[in-house]
């Protein structure tokens, strides 16, 4: 019981102190750009309830989910193919390295040319940025499949889809998840940027709108919402990862204990 209490204290102590410091330090602030925390929190419910919550948050989240899912499917599929054949990998590697090195946000203007400024553009931008870490990590993961296991599977006649499902993908999954995690933060960045460029709704659009109309406390609430969204998504990701990779973390913990 005491231990639990102590743990809770550790988790909440510093955030509480930081918020308190922010509150006190900004309380009498007359600086336009740094409004008191009190004002920001008072503005928060006015801005982020009702229509705005309905009109701006779901479109952003849907675009992100769409682009991210597309990138995951394409990345894992292509990565598995490229990783499985040594020659294909050698041919593709330099091109892939180059494409990965292009900072994803510069793709926004290019994709705007092709796809206009609608939702297709945003989903494509998100997908095209997220796909590289997933693809390259899948290639690495598929390449690193334990050769003994691969041989055993082959000699038992496990081939084709079964081999993919039971041997290749599970053993590559820790790497694939590392790629998915990197892609998540890139995805959020691209979601916001594509909305800042050209949109009529969405979080990025709204925050820039606030900034341009000098609604500073509203802009701060927008930053807070983006922060919360980023935090929430990373928590969801961790939960999913723990479920899917439970066997792997368990395995690692047990080998560490026995070594």
């Amino acid at each position: 019981m005491r231990l639990l209490f102590l743990r809770i204290a550790f988790v909440f102590a510093l955030p509480a102190v930081l918020v308190a410091v922010w509150w006190v330090a900004s309380d009498g602030s007359t600086d336009v750009y740094w409004p008191p925390l009190r004002t920001i929190l008072e503005t928060f419910p006015d801005v982020w309830t009702g229509d705005r919550l309905k009109d701006d948050v779901p479109p952003s989240v849907l675009r992100l989910t769409g682009g991210y899912a597309l990138a995951a499917v394409v990345g894992v599929a292509l990565g598995t193919v490229i990783g499985s054949y040594r020659r294909v990998r050698a041919v593709c590697e330099p091109v892939l390295e180059f494409l990965r090195a292009v900072p994803p946000p510069v793709l926004v203007p290019v994709i705007m040319l092709f796809a206009g400024i609608g939702d297709t553009m945003k989903v494509t931008v998100i997908a095209s940025g997220c796909v590289w870490p997933i693809l390259l990590n899948t290639v690495e993961g598929v390449r690193a499949v334990d050769p003994v296991m691969a041989e055993t599977a082959r000699s038992y006649g496990v081939t084709g889809v079964a081999r993919l499902r039971h041997v290749v993908l599970p053993s590559a999954s820790p790497q694939i998840f590392a790629g998915l995690r990197q892609a998540l933060s890139i995805g959020i960045i691209l979601m916001v940027i594509s909305e800042m460029f050209a949109a009529s709704n969405g979080l990025g659009f709204t925050i820039v709108q606030f900034q341009r109309s000098f609604a500073i406390p509203d802009m701060w609430t927008g930053i807070l919402v983006l922060g919360l969204l980023g935090f929430l998504l990373s928590v969801v990701f961790q939960l999913v990862e723990r479920r899917v990779l439970g066997w792997y973390h368990g395995l690692r913990a047990s080998t560490r204990r026995s070594s």
Partner: protein, 257 residues
């Protein structure tokens, strides 16, 4: 084997460039949207001959390098302090986990208001984004310290500073290097993004101008430049990493024997 891979890689690259030339020429994609490779190459040479391009490149690199240095120093110092001072790690864990996933682009509006299109607004974004990469790696690295080595150092009466210098730092260095390498890539992304969205001088701003003025081949040429820059940074960071850790591998090798 290596030579063969290089040949195959070159063939892949050549095929990629040829595809870029053929697709618009055959009319599969409108040339106005996706110019053939040769047009992009032409625009690339025009850019290289232009002095404004070089000053933009300089601006981007300045933002990148300054931001990376600031973030690395801050990340290393914060990481070591957090892991050396008792209880600090437990108390900061939740805050770090909360602050880290906040997308740095959320700070764009704030940066615009505070610093306009100055270098400082680029730095704000770059430092915020790369700081976490370094910090997390330092924390992981310090966790990896061999408890026996640490206890030995303690029992020989090494002070905190000497223990940081001789036990903690060598163990954490490979992790720090990985952190800095990741941060270098992130810093470039954020530097170009800041220029693109905010309009701070640099390659990103030049891309934005090329886009609004319908100079499509120039835009592609500039994007290729940012890609090459990213490639160069990746390769460079890997080389530095290998150099800096050469002693480390050898030391480890001797211990293992």
């Amino acid at each position: 084997m290596r030579g063969q891979n290089a040949v195959l890689g070159a063939a892949g690259l050549a095929a990629f460039l040829a595809l870029g030339e053929a697709v618009p020429r055959l009319g599969l994609v409108k040339e106005a949207y996706f110019p053939p490779t040769s047009r992009i190459a032409e625009a690339f040479w025009d850019e290289v001959a232009d002095s404004a391009f070089w000053s933009a490149l300089g601006d981007t690199l300045t933002g990148w390098a300054l931001g990376l240095i600031l973030a690395s120093c801050a990340g290393i110092v914060a990481g070591v302090v957090i892991s050396v001072v008792p209880y600090l790690r437990e108390t900061t864990a939740s805050t770090i986990e909360f602050l880290r996933p906040i997308p740095s682009v959320a700070l764009i509006p704030l940066a615009v208001l505070l610093y306009g299109t100055e270098l400082r607004s680029v730095l704000l974004l770059v430092v915020y984004a790369s700081f976490w990469q370094v910090l997390i790696q330092v924390l992981y690295g310090v966790q990896d310290v061999d408890p026996v080595a640490d206890e030995t150092a303690r029992s020989y009466g090494l002070g905190t500073w000497a223990r940081i210098r001789h036990v903690l730092w060598p163990t954490a260095l490979p992790y720090v290097m990985t952190g800095v390498r990741l941060a270098a890539a992130v810093a470039l992304i954020l530097a170009v993004t800041a220029e693109l969205v905010i309009g701070a001088p640099g390659l990103g701003a030049r891309i934005a101008v090329a886009q609004t003025s319908q100079a499509v081949p120039e835009m592609y040429a500039l994007i290729v430049v940012t890609g090459l820059l990213g490639l160069l940074i990746n390769v460079g960071a890997r080389t530095v990493e290998r150099r800096a850790l050469a002693w480390h591998q050898s030391v480890r090798g001797e211990v293992a024997v």
